[in-house]
């Protein structure tokens, strides 16, 4: 049965319907309007880490993933201003880590890379941070390359809420915050993580990667090689 759609909101001048309790993001998805997102995943509780889904609701910047749709909201989404701000955030994430697409095995399937292309980023204009963070390859089937982590927390939420394991968590704060794992000594091999876990394959970048399958699909045939990210949601105008 269809949910009753009582709420009307306007996104970029287009009137759409929303059900009560739906977020702006969910309502937009159903209506075929793509709001860019990075830390959001439809199976997870929204956490508001990346701010890429920031829209303007009645003029005020708000993240679409957790904001409930309310009747009469006038929302700006794909405006030059917001595209620029979103690109700025993606640039920040590029310089915070070390995202070297040409030899990353996630290239073509990476949401960070795909968003950079979508927003027209050529190269980051901010200063690279060259943070030194460790690779953890102790686990037989999964490795973590923290240089490619964007701290979206998808793995944290997936492991806790979908896998029921809490393998991942955050440690530290500010620019020194990073992903940690649930074992004394912080080694992935000492955790309960299995390659079949949701948390092992939910990373939007090449940070948490399942071993030995990285190049099974050749470059050029991957998810975002042929069409931009968001094409699955976006209806032709």
């Amino acid at each position: 049965m269809m949910k009753e759609q009582k709420i009307t909101i306007i996104i970029d001048g287009k009137e759409i319907k929303a059900a009560s309790g739906q977020s702006i993001m969910q309502a937009a998805d159903e209506a075929g309007i793509y709001i860019p997102r990075l830390c959001y995943h439809k199976d997870l509780i929204p956490a508001g880490h990346c701010r890429v889904c920031t829209v303007k609701v009645n003029g005020k910047p708000t993240n679409a993933c957790s904001m409930p749709a309310a009747d009469g909201m006038v929302i700006e989404n794909e405006t030059p201003e917001l595209t620029e701000e979103r690109r700025n955030i993606i640039e920040m994430l590029f310089v915070e880590g070390n995202h070297f697409c040409p030899f990353c095995e996630k290239s073509g399937d990476c949401e960070l890379q795909a968003l950079a292309y979508r927003f027209g980023m050529l190269t980051p204009t901010y200063t690279y941070q060259y943070k030194h963070v460790e690779v953890d390859a102790t686990h037989p089937d999964v490795y973590i390359d923290r240089e490619r982590c964007v701290l979206c927390g998808r793995c944290v939420r997936a492991s806790r809420d979908l896998d029921g394991k809490s393998v991942f968590g955050f440690v530290g704060r500010g620019i020194n915050k990073r992903i940690a794992v649930n074992s004394q000594g912080d080694r992935l091999s000492d955790t309960e993580l299995a390659a079949a876990d949701k948390a092992a394959s939910i990373c939007p970048t090449g940070c948490i990667v399942i071993k030995r399958i990285g190049y099974a699909k050749p470059f050029g045939t991957r998810l975002y090689d042929k069409q931009p990210i968001g094409s699955d949601i976006q209806k032709a105008p």
Binding site: P46, A47, G48, H49, C50, R51, T54, P61, N63, S66, M67, P68, E85, N88, I89, M92, L93, V95, E96, T125, Y126, T127, Q129, V150, L151, S166, V167, F168, G169, F170, V171, G172, R173, G174, I175, N176, K177, A180, V181, N182, S183, Q184, G185
Partner: protein
């Protein structure tokens, strides 16, 4: 590595047993994780991976959750520290008054740089953000005990005492009267906060009304939140009362962390009764039986005297069961001590911390009034707001609304520090101009006034006719005066550094953006900036302001953005050229490559 020797096993067993006992003392309740961590640290000096493992097992939660919380707060240490810990405040005002020289002397006397521990393991030297003593700088927390007005000449004596004496033992902090440690500097009292009140008079007045009428009275007084944002208190209480929940909670935000503010310190020393009275009235109004005061870790030295006030109120029948003789009105207050995180002053981060988690702000909605502490309706109000509420009950809404201005009724307690003759707390009527305030505090040759701390704005002399009020210059209370001799951009740099330290790291624009802002500013201050850098720093500041998740990130660029606006010539004097200047030194960057390649690059001569 696990130590398999017999001694090691015995010690590990002891540790496990001690931690189990601590967890049981704290009701084996996950929401008490802050207290558990504090006690483990007191017992073992720091919180090791092993300790965190024991805590996790005793609470039945994943280790990663314990580490997540412990690693967030600066007052928790995951590495061994010295027997004594000196936390020297490096806030702006402290550095204007010689904190750097004091730091140098400490390093010389202890023999190690800040951020490390002496070789004999006796003393650790750490820096800390503002500890709420800007009216008596330079200051430090020594084993949690505030020591103020430190001169370099005092340092040898302090170090000697730390190596042999007992003057700064942590036990001492619990017994010494706060007034003997710290000066009050209450320079101006006013009719609302700093006037005597008979304990219970506000509560009795409230109990003569229905809870709805208490809220109506607060609404009629047009009282607005004193933390700085100015949300109408009556409206907040009304939302909270009307929200459905198993429990309702009253939470007092005593986590004033804005550099340069210290008025809550003085209120909690001089007028704690009034704050607790206001909390109890809020409990009656919103239908809560439990209240919390979240006291910033820097003010832990106030804890025992506050507990005494609570006990006295219980004894007087003003807390506990059937308060002031009213059958069925039960309310009590627990004090939660924080552990060094500015962001916890943000109400949703404060609630997270109160639940024993890292102090990361929440996305709103839902707002705390509908889903706050433990997902139940909660009203979070500032210490001063509660004091106002108690006074309004006693004196009436009309009396209160006649003080101040139309949109900012009542008085405001200002913490004034920096370049003035009489730093301290001033309870003034809303609407006072900066000029009048500067006269009052004895400030001369003022270059700029920082209203609202780093997250507020830097006001130039042309705007000194403007007034402290919600409609003009709102502030949580921090007022820092800078004379003409001060290097304003260096101050802006230190403020920006503060936000880098205090960003919680949850969202990308604040986590990365604050660091990028600092680097860009430093490039300009070092004379390596161009006009392009000025454009870029403004644009970056706007992104951080617009895209960040909470108030911290949204205001982190204010020191830069407000001085770019009000003191633009200071920047253009530093960045004159139109030419692009790279953020790094080419020759230095190439040096390693040249060394590896074993040959110099071929540089084409320009025509």
């Amino acid at each position: 590595m696990t130590d398999y020797s017999i001694g090691g096993t015995v010690m590990a067993n002891d540790q496990s047993k001690a931690i189990k006992e601590i967890v049981e003392e704290c009701c084996s309740d996950r929401s008490n994780l802050m207290d558990i961590a504090q006690k483990v640290q007191n017992r073992f000096g720091y919180i090791s991976e092993e300790s965190m493992g024991h805590i996790a097992r005793a609470l039945g939660i994943p280790l990663v959750e314990v580490r997540d919380m412990v690693s967030f707060y600066t007052f928790f240490s995951r590495e061994p520290t010295g027997k004594s810990v000196v936390r020297l405040c490096n806030a702006v005002v402290e550095r204007l008054h010689g904190a750097d020289l004091v730091a140098d002397t400490f390093e010389k006397e202890v023999g190690v740089p800040f951020g490390s521990t002496s070789t004999d393991g006796s003393i650790s030297l750490e820096y800390t953000s503002c500890i709420g003593m800007s009216d008596q700088p330079p200051s430090a927390l020594i084993n949690g005990i505030p020591v103020t007005k430190i001169c370099p000449e005092d340092v040898p004596g302090i170090v000697k005492e730390l190596k042999g004496g007992s003057k700064y033992s942590p036990e001492k902090a619990a017994t010494v009267l706060p007034a003997t440690l710290v000066e009050n500097n209450l320079n101006k009292t006013g009719p609302v906060v700093f006037s005597p009140q008979e304990p219970g008079s506000g509560i009795r007045a409230a109990l003569n009304m229905s809870p709805e009428d208490v809220i109506n009275t607060i609404t009629e007084s047009r009282l607005r939140g004193r933390g700085g944002a100015g949300f109408p208190t009556g409206m907040k209480w009304n939302f909270c009362r009307k929200s459905e929940g198993k429990e309702h909670y009253v939470i007092c935000n005593a986590d004033e962390g804005e550099p340069g503010t210290f008025k809550d310190r003085v209120i909690l020393t001089e007028a704690a009764d009034l704050a607790f009275e206001g909390m109890t009235i809020a409990g009656y109004a919103i239908g809560a039986s439990q209240g919390f005061m979240y006291l910033r870790g820097e003010f832990k030295y106030l804890l025992s005297s506050l507990e005494q006030v609570l006990n006295r109120r219980r004894h007087l029948g003003l807390l506990g069961k059937n308060i002031a003789g009213r059958q069925g009105f039960d309310f009590d207050i627990r004090i939660q001590v924080g552990a060094g995180a500015y962001v916890c002053g943000e109400e949703s981060a404060l609630i997270e911390s109160l639940e024993g988690k890292r102090g990361a702000p929440r996305d709103r909605p839902p707002f705390p009034v509908t889903r706050g502490y433990m997902n139940q309706p909660s009203s979070v109000n500032n210490v001063e707001t509660f004091c106002c509420a108690a006074r309004i009950m006693e004196k009436g809404a009309e009396w209160f609304s006649k003080i101040g201005t139309k949109d900012s009724t009542g008085t405001k307690c200002l913490s004034v520090s920096g370049d003035c003759a009489h730093p301290g707390v001033y309870e003034v009527e809303y609407g006072i101009t900066i000029d009048d305030l500067l006269d009052l505090v004895g400030a001369k040759d003022t270059q700029a006034v920082q209203v609202g701390g780093p997250s507020g704005r830097c006001v130039a002399p042309k705007d000194f006719g403007r007034s402290i009020s919600f409609e003009d210059l709102p502030t949580g209370g921090s007022i820092i005066v800078f004379s003409k001799e001060r290097d304003l951009l260096e101050i802006v740099r230190q403020f920006t550094e503060f936000f880098v330290e205090e960003s919680c790291g949850w969202c990308a624009p604040c986590r990365v953006g604050t660091t990028l802002l600092l680097q860009k500013l430093e490039k300009i201050l070092e004379g390596r900036g161009s006009k392009l850098d000025l454009q870029e720093i403004e644009s970056l500041g706007n992104t951080v302001e617009k895209m960040s998740r909470c108030g911290l990130g949204q205001t982190a660029a204010n020191p830069i953005l407000t001085t770019l606006r009000n003191f633009h010539s200071l920047y253009t004097a530093k960045a004159k050229t139109d030419e692009f200047i790279p953020p790094f030194d080419y020759e230095k960057a190439l040096a390693v490559g040249i060394q590896i390649a074993g040959r110099e690059p071929v540089v084409e001569e320009e025509e």
